[in-house]
């Protein structure tokens, strides 16, 4: 009985993951801005986030954008995970690829805007 229940749970989870992931599409990036944010400011952040997206594609995507169920998925990172400049020494690859010589502090900020306002992936 217990074993059957577990099996059902696993199957349900598996199916829901399948459904959710097939819904995720990264073709067009959607941004979510707080309602309280004035329209012109939203537009400004949209512009900055788009710059951040391009910089992400150039500097980060080759490692971080992964194929999930046939679709390319840009992961979600929080502002905290981006961790300002400590990201530069987060691991050996970053030491080289996210060095100050390659990605400036201002560019890191733009990438952080991108992750802050990018619509989160469905779990």
């Amino acid at each position: 009985m217990y074993f059957r229940n577990i099996c059902i749970v696993i199957v349900v989870v598996f199916i829901s993951v399948l459904i959710v992931s097939s819904c995720v599409s990264q073709k067009k990036i959607e941004y979510v801005f707080p309602d309280a944010m004035a329209k012109p400011i939203q537009e400004e952040y949209y512009r900055l986030s788009e710059k951040g997206r391009v910089l992400y594609e150039i500097n980060c995507a080759s490692c971080h954008t992964k194929k999930v169920k046939g679709k390319m998925v840009i992961p979600d990172f929080t502002e905290e995970q981006m961790g300002a400049y400590s990201i530069r020494i987060a691991n050996e690859i970053h030491e080289d690829k996210v060095s100050e010589a390659r990605v400036s502090a201002e560019e890191l900020n733009l990438i952080t805007y991108f992750f802050t306002y990018k619509k989160k992936n469905k779990q």
Binding site: A84, E100, A101, S104
Partner: protein, 643 residues
């Protein structure tokens, strides 16, 4: 039967306890991790004993104070055994253990991205200095040591000790250790009693030698190689055979023949063993640098700015050429009469040696500060003498829009530039290298400018060549350098290898208050508030970022306001104890007001050393003409501007 079982149990217990004892026995000083823990504990015991002694002492009794001095010295010596790890693994706690200044305005880790805050240091050096005061308050004395005991506990926390379990930290600790040997340990930077500098150095060298042996035993796969170890032994012999007086110590040979070659070997091992860093201490240091005097020892500025990822040589050449045109083009100024080259004369090391300070935009008044040379700007984390900017491109923008400098606006400058067909076409072609930007921005212009002028910052001086290639050099240079590092105390602020205010691990610039006068007669202190105009604080009044002395022969006049006209005047100023030494009131002067007792001959030798830091730079001729504009007004522009 019972007896039999009992003796069996006893035997078993005995066996277990013996094996336990033998296990702890093998974990003594021969084991790297145990060596770490033992040394930290021993140091803590010494600190506690010192605290106890202070607590029990009668501070009105000179004999007892002398006894405290002795105990401080013993504790300092003990510190030398753990210094190797402490500075690297937790640099902030280290300031509480042996901070050089009572109050520092510093950032937590890296000045570029954080506002500085006031940090009160504590520890052995400050305790020693405090004992010189007329009125000694026991509570304060106990605080200075008490805080250092607490700070030492950080080094026993798991978050720190976990690093000791792998080999990575070792080569990075060692790199910092070698850089400090070159830049700090022999100068008396944080040892108030100059007689102790060399005995302490020798002690540290020997303690680290034991540490090396323990490391190699514990990490045989990634051991220090024989070549390194044998050179290190010879380094100890060299120091041992020198006199105990830092004023006669041969700093030049020490760095040239020993410390720099050791650094080179350590860098090779960092690459060979794939050493990886998890510490902000290593933020600026370059794993691929091949000498302490490598211009790429550390990374501070990104001269290519928005073009940072461009590696295509044709594109780089184009960026450089456009930057050169813009550098000489008065189009960037509000009245189309001034260019970057107006004040930063490319024929004069990108400064102007003919005036004390440059003309303002109004062509009448003078600017408050002397034009700084643009050579080696890339080796500063903070730009401007007050540290106002963190990137070269923002600094360039600030000059452009400053109403008393170039008097333009970002929009105006960009509009005028893009109105010139040549600029427009050529910058548009470069747009593909900055896909995040859909159109040309002011950042494209400033990045071209900074990329252009920074190419003159890659040259080496005869002194560098002597250090890197072990080339022979004029003995007077060597004597001058040795004075610079010892008696003249220059190196306590102008650090090896760039001789600017950036000291190991090369993440922060130092600001100093030296009391520069408003005029040569020392009538009053210069009115310029320096760093405190950026971050208001009493300590930072009149503080300026320490500049490099490279190419100083060619970049007169000197100091933030260009008050001194030659190097001898500058050294005399220091020799007399700065502003305070000349009778000015500067309560926060960070320079000692005592005379350095340098003789005229010694000053001459120091000047000869400074001359050996003149870099072999190849300068270029100005462009023949500037791009044509549709705007008739702009057709009158002169290459380089008119004032």
């Amino acid at each position: 039967m019972k007896k039999y079982i009992l003796s069996l149990v006893l035997l078993g217990t005995l066996f277990v306890s013996i094996s336990f004892i033998s296990k702890t026995g093998s974990n003594d000083s021969s084991d790297y991790q145990s060596l770490y823990f033992n040394r930290v504990q021993e140091f803590k015991q010494k600190q506690k004993a010192l605290f106890q002694l202070i607590d029990e002492s009668d501070l009105s009794n000179e004999m007892q104070i002398e006894k405290i001095r002795g105990a401080i010295q013993q504790t300092r010596v003990q510190l030398k055994g753990v210094d190797f790890w402490m500075r690297y693994l937790e640099p902030i706690s280290y300031k509480k253990i042996n901070g050089p200044l009572p109050v520092e305005w510093e950032t937590e880790v890296f000045e570029k991205h954080e506002a500085p805050y006031k940090r009160e240091a504590a520890g052995l050096t400050l305790t020693y200095l405090y004992l010189e005061e007329e009125q000694i308050d026991k509570t304060e004395l106990k605080r200075l040591i008490g805080e250092s005991v607490v700070a030492t506990n950080a080094y026993l926390a798991d978050s720190i000790t976990k690093h000791i379990r792998t080999y990575h930290h070792f080569y990075l600790c060692n790199r910092l250790y070698l850089l400090n040997l070159a830049a700090i340990y022999t100068t008396g930077f944080e040892c108030p009693d100059t007689e102790q500098v060399l005995p302490e150095l020798l002690r540290m060298l020997k303690d680290v030698d034991q540490l090396y042996a323990a490391y190699n035993k514990s990490f045989p796969e990634t051991a220090l190689n024989e070549e390194y170890l044998s050179l290190y032994k010879r380094t100890i012999e060299f120091v041992f055979n020198q006199s105990n007086d830092i004023n006669t110590f041969d700093h030049f040979t020490f760095i040239q023949q020993y410390i720099n070659p050791l650094y080179v070997l350590n860098q090779k091992m960092i690459l060979e063993y794939n050493v990886s860093s998890k510490s902000m201490v290593d933020y600026s240091l370059n794993k691929n640098s091949t000498s302490i005097f490598d211009k790429d020892l550390y990374f501070a500025q990104n001269p290519k700015g928005i073009f940072s990822r461009v590696s295509d040589t044709v594109a780089l050449k184009e960026i450089n050429d456009l930057g050169k045109l813009l550098f000489y083009d008065p189009i960037l100024s509000g009245n189309n009469l001034r260019s970057c080259a107006s004040c930063h004369l490319p024929t004069q090391y990108f400064t102007d040696t003919t005036v004390q300070t440059a003309l303002q935009f109004d062509r009448l008044n003078r600017l408050p500060r002397n034009t700084p040379s643009l050579i080696n700007v890339r080796l500063n984390h903070l730009l401007m003498l007050d540290g106002a900017h963190i990137t070269m491109q923002n600094q360039a923008k600030a000059v452009l829009i400053n109403p008393i400098e170039m008097g333009s606006t970002e929009i105006e400058a960009l509009r005028k530039v893009l109105n010139c067909k040549e600029y427009n076409t050529r910058f548009t072609k470069l747009l593909k290298y900055t896909p995040q930007e859909t159109q040309i921005t002011i950042d494209h212009l400033t990045s071209a400018l900074t990329a252009y002028y920074t190419k003159f910052s890659n040259s080496y001086a005869p002194f560098d060549e002597a250090m890197i290639q072990k080339k022979a050099i004029d003995p007077v240079v060597q004597e001058g350098f040795n004075l610079f590092m010892s008696k003249a105390q220059c190196a306590t602020c102008h650090f090896v290898p760039q001789f600017n205010g950036v000291k190991p691990p090369y993440v922060n610039s130092e600001f100093e208050v030296i009391g520069v006068p408003g005029d040569k007669q020392f009538a009053a202190l210069s009115a310029d508030k320096g760093r405190s105009t950026i971050y208001t604080s009493d300590e930072m009044h009149h503080a300026f970022r320490t500049g490099s002395i490279r190419n100083a022969t060619y970049t007169k006049p000197y100091m933030h306001n260009g008050v001194f006209n030659n190097l001898t005047e500058v050294i005399e100023f220091y020799n007399n104890g700065g502003g305070v030494g000349r009778g000015l009131t500067v309560p926060n002067q960070t320079l000692s007001s005592d005379s350095l007792h340098l003789t005229p001959l010694e000053i001459k030798k120091i000047v000869v050393f400074i001359e050996s830091l003149n870099e072999n730079i190849t300068f270029e001729k100005p462009p023949l003409q500037l791009p044509v504009s549709k705007d008739k007004m702009l057709l009158q522009r002169k290459v380089g501007g008119v004032y």
